[in-house]
Symmetry: D2
Subunit: 322 residues, 4 copies
Amino acid sequence: MTEMKRIGVLTSGGDAPGMNAAIRAVTRCAIYKGLEVIGIRRGFEGLLEGDVIPLTSRSVGGIIHRGGTVLRTARSERFKKPEGQVEALDRLRELDLDGLILIGGEGTFKGAWALHQRGIPVVGIPCTIDNDIEGTDMTIGFDTAVNTALDAVRKLRDTASSHDRLFIIEVMGRRCGFLAAQVALASGAEYVLLPEMPFDLDHLCKKLHYARRQGKTHSLIIVAEGVMGAQDLAAKLKDTAGYEARVTVLGHIQRGGSPTAFDATLASRMGAHAVKALLEGESGIMIGSLCGQMVTHPLPVAWEEKKPLSDEVLSLMEMLSI
Amino acid sequence: MTEMKRIGVLTSGGDAPGMNAAIRAVTRCAIYKGLEVIGIRRGFEGLLEGDVIPLTSRSVGGIIHRGGTVLRTARSERFKKPEGQVEALDRLRELDLDGLILIGGEGTFKGAWALHQRGIPVVGIPCTIDNDIEGTDMTIGFDTAVNTALDAVRKLRDTASSHDRLFIIEVMGRRCGFLAAQVALASGAEYVLLPEMPFDLDHLCKKLHYARRQGKTHSLIIVAEGVMGAQDLAAKLKDTAGYEARVTVLGHIQRGGSPTAFDATLASRMGAHAVKALLEGESGIMIGSLCGQMVTHPLPVAWEEKKPLSDEVLSLMEMLSI
Amino acid sequence: MTEMKRIGVLTSGGDAPGMNAAIRAVTRCAIYKGLEVIGIRRGFEGLLEGDVIPLTSRSVGGIIHRGGTVLRTARSERFKKPEGQVEALDRLRELDLDGLILIGGEGTFKGAWALHQRGIPVVGIPCTIDNDIEGTDMTIGFDTAVNTALDAVRKLRDTASSHDRLFIIEVMGRRCGFLAAQVALASGAEYVLLPEMPFDLDHLCKKLHYARRQGKTHSLIIVAEGVMGAQDLAAKLKDTAGYEARVTVLGHIQRGGSPTAFDATLASRMGAHAVKALLEGESGIMIGSLCGQMVTHPLPVAWEEKKPLSDEVLSLMEMLSI
Amino acid sequence: MTEMKRIGVLTSGGDAPGMNAAIRAVTRCAIYKGLEVIGIRRGFEGLLEGDVIPLTSRSVGGIIHRGGTVLRTARSERFKKPEGQVEALDRLRELDLDGLILIGGEGTFKGAWALHQRGIPVVGIPCTIDNDIEGTDMTIGFDTAVNTALDAVRKLRDTASSHDRLFIIEVMGRRCGFLAAQVALASGAEYVLLPEMPFDLDHLCKKLHYARRQGKTHSLIIVAEGVMGAQDLAAKLKDTAGYEARVTVLGHIQRGGSPTAFDATLASRMGAHAVKALLEGESGIMIGSLCGQMVTHPLPVAWEEKKPLSDEVLSLMEMLSI
């Protein structure tokens, strides 16, 4: 193991609130420990193009509270192929980088793993609003996205209750229901549809029917994008039972905004831990937060294991929506 | 003119932030002046059904900051027909109401006018997020909706700039561009499409093309719902010039939330002025705010004249998006 | 153990965001399980006065997102004395309550313990913005308070950086530094003073002096109320080293506002778990959340053990403020 | 009149939300019209030191929504003296500036007037949270500050109503009551003390006493800093009538944060109009917004005339707080 002198940091995949807080933490902790830090722009694509800037304590000042990523992000088809990865290695050597910290989700981690297998010291920081990474209780960005969606649902509740209406709200989360489940619970939504549970239209219609008879004049249904689109659900409800529902697709606003205190803190802690791990000679690993402690796992944990959604939430919703 | 002793208040049409602040102001000012106040629920439909509650100073306590309307709102097909209006008159007499204050937009005002013509003293308070009512510089709810949309656009800007992407954001406003124009100006959006200006796809594509060449890596297009849907615009941009755009339809979140200081204040002032006008024997009128002063106009002003959008905004956007 | 049929719920001590979400969860879960629920107003004082209202699924509808507590809260000198506690027992018997759920902090829990020792089945739910309760990773209200304070600090940063100024911001937390530490970390504040670490004025002045020489034109100092008042600190800095600092005391705004998603969720889970525990015959316990799991402990855990603040945060701040 | 080729822009005095939006508008409109733009940092002090940066369309990109001022601001004792002003003239000539746009409040405008009298073409843009500038209905920053204060008061209301308490909240506004009056009206505060009305402690105590007897369990008093400090008022209430009040001084958070839609729009319009006026050969003027129209006045209007506070607001509060 050669001594670490100069490391790179990049963000890749979909952006998430807290990416900048992580970039700042990586940069300042590395500088504090005597390293030089290079920011690679636009993820793996920028790496292939050698699109870089030096990062200093001052240049990451004031970014902790900004949404998005100052390093930008992009998808790279080239990097997915072996030739692209070999090229990336050349770039990393030209840039004289002794290690790389990669901030993103599953796709980012798979790219990091490819570089690790080709001999580059890499550490991954889990940052995605979907929270669909095993090995960490929470990913950076999830808490902010939940609160952004919650704020929107509260506004929709105003209209729903004023008009005695049924609303269907589609939230993000890819193939997982973490975002939908927490938004539903925190907003007091009446129903939630998650990829982790079988979709049963008859059951939903029965519950809607029962609630109407009990005098519930309005209802909110939260549907995870991994189940189906909100428009499709509205069409099914209309065809099957004649319900007229208003539809809102929250969309990309869930990715933006200043990070919450939780996400800014988690990003700071994970950024610092990533630098520490790299300096201690670790590679091919991701940072996780388990029971409030910083931990590391081999990167494949992120995608080889499926993070389970707690049953407790589902039974809670049943009781709380009466 | 008989002495006023007891008045009713209702909200009708689409809900808007500040409706509750207006209900509170009407109620407290009327009570202050010695009147009794009856709340009619669910607009004209509730009037026909006699669905009412007495309002007191205490019962409207704490509602000033709440979104939606505690009196709820509804559409009424029955009331649109002469028989329905006659029936409404009977209900008003049974309820022993000497006057009625109606909070809402154009449709509400047309209903109010029908009651006025049948001899009921009525005053309308303009409350709609669309700001499409002539006779008042601002309608209650507009300022809040603009700020809600602005907040969403700022979040989308985070993602757009991180991914170097083109975003199309559809905002409300019915057939008018007030909401879209102010959101565009306040957010620094690069382009805006308004019902008040001809739609020119070629011109838009040329501007996008020019901006790309100048090095603008991302752009936001705000489109008013009165022009076309955001999805349709995205399809046209793709077909004509190959642009890939992300689409967000802000939807009903624009109607919800606590009113801004401006809207809570405007609602308070208009509510007070409506009670004053009714007590002074006026009827068939709407309240307006012109140059900061409370004024009244005959109700038909609201729909017979088209409120113009200032040219200044359009030329400003041209300069500011360079 | 007699069968549970009817339980009471009260909030006591300082209010915290999420109290209403907890009341809602207790009420709906209890009703779901066949119990009747009585709300006791104004804490122990209201208990002594028999100031109660029945709670139903509908009456707790829409309160999940509201700050404060619909049951109100108060301090009670009477209840602290044995005679008061005996009187409270009489009231509980007259009200025919088989158990009591108490939502609040340390003082509330001590009162609950007194009732438990006199034979009343009680369960405590930890709800305070200070997070100073051992036995749970997080208390309800803490996450919201941190985010409220963070939002304020971000606004102060705007002014501090525009004017090249030193700001001192005093945050709550009683004798603990949890709130101050997380606000400092999440806001990127340059310095933090916590009750858990010795106060060293010389060291602080040296760091301020060093930062100035490095070109830092503005700085934020977060001081926990448990250390000293912000005004006192400003006076000391001026006397010792001539620094002119602006002072802001965040004060009671930290207690208000809608709960964050985290707090609304935690309150829902804890409320449900409290009902479950009471039905299973437990008493004299508090609910906790450890590593994401609902747990129970004897009430005295809350005050007999001191919850430690992680060292990691302190060393992190050292690195991140360079 | 020589042809304008190159202008300067500076911010001075207390910072206010929307300063950056104004800098952006000045810069882009000037560039659009073929001018070069120089940013002068730290107000008149930076002018004397020649602390400048060139501004481009790109360099002001993304600042429209940021609080504070990227050009920073400062107080300058030197500039207040004739020698300092002569020196400033030399600097302006060295910098080859044909005109200057100054963004700030009364003090800024007085400095601008001094330069105008020495032959420098100047235009002032009114930007202060106090709204205490005659000649414009609204100053940039006022609307944001009102909404920030309103948000804080809403949070305090949660606690006040939960604890049945009396709260005194001190807001900014210098010698004027605009901020206090609008916050009070929009928040539904029970009492407001403004510099524009005589302070009558007996009357206030009588109203508090009456409200208590009517069953009002909590009350909010908004006091403008121009009347007295909140702590002083609390002491007086205690000494005179035994009332225990909690005190909150909102302080500098009222200056920070992203501008509201109104302020971002007003700043954009005023910035554009200032460039237009300078190009048309005007000098020694300020921009105003009257009845929604951009206007200009000689600078002394700002301080020679006192902007009156509407009586309507005061009588409204009387009725609305019953």
